[in-house]
């Protein structure tokens, strides 16, 4: 009998009882999303609007000799054509706040529209505004670009060679010791993290396993393509509607790239059809703005799927080496890792985050991790759900599995005896606070799947794998403004775009604190003019940080109600108690609703507000178990059963915590088995469609069993840890370990596609 994951298992390591937190209300924005009424970015149409399209490079690496737009401009219906000349000169400025502050603005600007050189297949060259999208597309074919095609460099190991063609002629490596290289190269940055004495640690080891791993490029694969609509008014006010993970980030980027006052930029977050880290930066917004300024009309732009795959920010391919030393009784003595990630056409990969996570589940006395951010002729890479951690921990968790096999130690016991715990060091961070890796591992060990022997089947190769994962989570800044209405309901304005039920997880924390039903809170995702600074929906931060802002705003509102009632009841404010949503003092009492009515009569309308930048994210661990069947005649791997265990701190909104876990697992399974960018030798992306970029379908995965472990985060009043990202981390390693269990073959490249598994099986045989 299948386990019912509709209400998954929860294991609590705390005694808190809540009224709202932990319940399963229907999400506030659900109705509009099941009826088709919700308005996503591309669902907007403005009077007088024109349509924009982007011309993209057919080459991976080329110098632009000339661009002639005259034939396109002459086409009937074409209203404007722009090239990089339309952007202000970025000079030596650095990017402001937002996703990755402090990088040279010239790189970001050149990624919007190429300046003199194209760095990857699909790099934007020019943009057209026309009466309809078909005419705009026809106009693109009339733009004449002369290229001087250059040799492309596609893989980090080639790009790091001393004689590799240098993609950015004035890029000098920022070295780990703070110095800058004297000769230009494709290595944008080097990083080094060290704890203890690794040489001594490896000398103590009885067994050292040293393995290399490589990775294809993968895309976040959100179903909604990028879009932007902009209207530049004649007085300089710029209105932008888009579906980004961060409206404030887009506003900052527009201000930087267009050298335009931030006060004149107004960004309206539309509903967003998935992001996973890929919608944290602007692509179309600046182009739509410039085309609108030039034509005086609103401009709507939307990428097609091929554009999305070619020219947005997938997450890097690259290289990871992991070396672990252990004693014969299975204690880790030392670890070394070396990570080199694709930055893509411009610097700034997620390699640093990968470095921080590679050994995170373990307390090892000696560790050294080196990272390299490497420019290659592929799209500028970006975050994808626990960015960098999946690569890093695929490597380390398969090495751990190999050690367990070699030493004949149970993989659960090995991980328990080496597990990181409160007070242990973290790479480049303060020591761990209370964390839940051990509790997750114990829950996995006790799970129905781990306790049920794998069913064998004649002629079938089946195996089971287990792997841990860690993601540190992010705090950043969030704001909430909450207005008490006269009937006691609350209108809650927040700045975090809602990609998966966070309106409700924020409203639930507000409701818990104020003591009202969550249905009495109406959460609104507000535009950049209407709510305080709020950073991207990313880093698993919204329920943690925006939830904290909501809690603080509820307390602020509570204080204002108390003050109002103190005047009304003529009592001292500190004599008023608040319990279960009722204020009481000296024989008086009022519910929140009654208080709102009383205060309204006095002309008092409480507005609770808070802006917060919390830093005690807590970090999240997950442990996953995969059962697979390998068809040894074809190399195809089928997932038979899967259990995901995760420390959520406290699960505010459990159905959507389970949903994050299940969704992360399936993305991880897709990455493990099939997803990758396929390039030819000239650097052309060959599989820029959802037919050939193979994301899992409903038929490719089983139900995903979930176990939420609650080890409260001491850095949050309700114990919240971010939950969104870590579930993508363990699947590739769990799958690889299961494939090994089934076949005896160790896979060292993601994805472990049928052709690769088949080749590995053939090589073994």
């Amino acid at each position: 009998m299948a386990v019912d994951t509709r209400v998954g298992q929860t294991i609590k390591h705390h005694d808190e009882e809540y009224k709202v937190i932990g319940t399963r209300p229907i999400r506030h924005d659900g109705l509009e999303k099941v009826t088709g009424e919700a308005r996503y970015g591309s669902d907007i149409n403005l009077p007088g609007q024109l349509h924009g399209k982007v011309l993209r490079s057919p080459h991976a690496h080329a110098r632009i000799v000339s661009i002639d737009t005259s034939r396109a401009e002459a086409l009937d219906g074409v209203r404007a054509v722009i090239t990089s000349a339309a952007f202000p000169d970025p000079g030596d400025k650095l990017t402001g706040g937002g996703e990755a502050p402090g990088l040279p603005l010239k790189f970001k600007s050149a990624n919007m529209l190429a300046r003199g050189k194209v760095h990857y297949h699909g790099h934007a060259i020019a943009a057209v505004a026309a009466a309809n999208p078909h005419v705009a597309a026809e106009a693109l074919k009339l733009i004449d670009v002369e290229y001087e095609v250059l040799d492309p460099v596609l893989e980090v190991w080639d790009a790091m060679k001393p004689d590799a063609p240098v993609i950015i002629e004035d890029l000098y490596t920022a070295k780990a010791d703070g110095t800058t290289a004297e000769e230009p190269s494709n290595v944008a940055a080097e990083m080094l993290y060290e704890v203890g004495d690794v040489d001594a640690g490896f000398a103590e080891a009885d067994l050292v396993v040293d393995r290399e791993f490589t990775f294809g490029v993968v895309h976040q694969g959100y179903i909604e393509t990028h879009n932007a609509t902009a209207h530049w008014l004649k007085d300089g006010h710029l209105h932008v509607w888009c579906s980004s993970q961060g409206a404030f980030t887009i506003r900052q980027e527009l201000a930087d790239l267009l050298d335009h006052p931030i006060t004149k930029i107004h960004v309206v977050p539309m509903e967003i059809g998935g992001g996973f880290g890929g919608k944290t930066t602007a692509y179309l917004e600046p182009l739509a703005a410039l085309l609108s300024r030039q034509t005086g009309h609103p401009i709507k732009m939307a990428m097609d799927r091929a554009d999305v795959l070619k020219a947005t920010g997938p997450t890097p391919g690259g290289y990871v080496r992991v070396k672990l030393g252990v004693t014969n009784d299975g204690m880790i003595t030392a670890g070394y890792a070396n990570l080199a990630f694709d930055a893509g056409g411009y610097p700034g990969s997620v390699v640093g985050a990968g470095c921080r996570c590679v050994f995170a589940p373990y307390n090892m006395p000696n560790a050294k991790v080196e990272g390299f951010d490497v420019v290659v002729n592929k799209p500028k890479t970006h975050a994808y759900r626990a960015p960098g951690a999946t690569h890093a921990e695929f490597a380390s968790e398969t090495v751990v599995d190999e050690i367990c096999r070699t030493l004949d130690i149970d993989p659960v016991e090995f991980r328990l005896q080496n597990s990181a715990k409160e007070g242990d060091w973290q790479l480049a961070m303060p020591p761990y606070p209370r964390i839940g890796h051990i509790e997750c591992m114990e829950a996995a060990r006790d799970s129905a799947q781990w306790q049920t022997p794998l069913e064998t089947a004649p002629g079938k190769k089946r195996g089971r794998g287990i792997a841990s994962g860690f993601w540190f989570n992010i705090g950043f800044t969030s704001s909430v403004t909450a207005k008490l209405n006269s009937d006691g309901s609350v209108t809650l304005l927040e700045g975090s775009t809602d990609i998966g039920g966070t309106r409700t997880s924020i409203a639930m924390q507000f409701a818990e604190t104020l003591g009202i039903p969550v249905e009495d809170v109406d959460p609104i995702v507000a535009d950049t003019d209407s709510v305080g600074q709020t950073d991207v929906t990313g880093g698993s931060r919204v329920t943690f940080a925006t939830g904290l802002a909501a809690h603080n705003a509820a307390n602020d509102m509570k204080d204002q109600i108390v003050e109002g009632l103190a005047d009304l009841w003529d009592v001292a404010a500190d004599s008023i108690t608040h319990a279960d949503g009722t204020f009481s003092a000296n024989g008086n009492s009022a519910t929140v609703g009654e208080a709102a009515g009383l205060l309204e009569e006095e002309g008092v309308f409480p507005i609770g507000k808070n802006t917060v930048t919390p830093t005690r994210e807590g970090g999240a661990f997950a442990v996953h178990i995969a059962d697979v069947e390998v068809d040894d005649e074809t190399g195809k791997v089928e997932v038979l059963r899967y259990t995901a265990v995760q420390d959520a701190g406290v699960a505010i909104y459990p159905p959507y915590v389970e949903g994050q876990m299940q969704g992360g697992v399936v993305q991880g399974v897709g990455w493990a088995l099939n997803e990758e960018y396929v390039y030819d030798d000239d650097g052309h992306l060959l599989n820029a469609s959802l037919l050939d970029y193979r994301m899992p379908t409903a038929l490719d995965v089983p139900n995903i069993e979930t176990i939420i472990v609650e080890v409260p985060n001491p850095g949050h009043p309700y114990g919240v840890r971010g939950v969104g990202e870590v579930p993508i981390v363990p699947p590739p390693a769990a799958m690889a370990n299961a494939i090994h269990d089934a076949t005896g073959v160790r896979m060292s490249h993601l994805p472990m596609s049928p052709a690769r598994v088949q080749a590995a099986l053939a090589a073994e045989a």
Partner: protein, 165 residues
């Protein structure tokens, strides 16, 4: 009689969600474009524009189709059902209610396609197995949920609908 060859803006008469509808469209415009941009029915989404994601699913003359792979002019004389026609004035369709109660959506952009496709399934097969649900919905990509809660919601709705039938 020689067949007329249509070009430029073509006048198309069709039926959408039971209402007679006229529109003007070029033959190169897809049914999806017409629904979204000419008629304001933006519930169907463009996820891939080549038949590989199902976000644009509608039912045309009783058959589930990807509206991105139908020309606007092919809608002439057809009867089309979109997500906007799934709920009735009396309330949500059991599938819509089940999606809400089972938390079967996250970002929600694929949801209209899933509900339209699932409705077509349940009209043909009121008592599908989990495998049959997964098979039928394999053309609808969801990147958020991992499908688990969607499949459960469809099975749950099927059970409710059988109980009410």
């Amino acid at each position: 009689m020689a067949t007329e060859i249509q070009s430029g803006k073509v006048h198309v008469q069709t039926t959408i969600n039971g209402e007679s509808v006229d529109f003007l469209a070029e033959p190169r415009e897809s049914l999806l474009e017409v629904l979204r941009d000419n008629l304001g029915l933006t519930g169907a989404k463009e996820g891939c524009n080549n038949g590989n994601c199902g976000a644009c699913n509608v039912v045309m003359d009783g058959v589930l189709v990807n509206s991105c792979c139908v020309l606007s002019v092919e809608a002439a004389g057809a009867s089309i059902e979109t997500i906007e026609g799934v709920a009735s004035p009396e309330g949500l369709h059991p599938l819509q209610q089940s999606f809400l109660e089972n938390a079967a959506l996250q970002c929600g952009v694929c949801t209209p396609g899933f509900i339209v496709a699932a409705k077509a399934l349940l009209e043909e097969n009121p008592n599908p197995t989990e495998y049959e649900v997964r098979w039928w919905l394999a053309g609808n990509l969801c990147r958020c949920t991992g499908y688990d809660k969607i499949v459960r919601a469809v099975l749950d709705a099927a059970e409710r609908m059988r109980a009410e039938a």
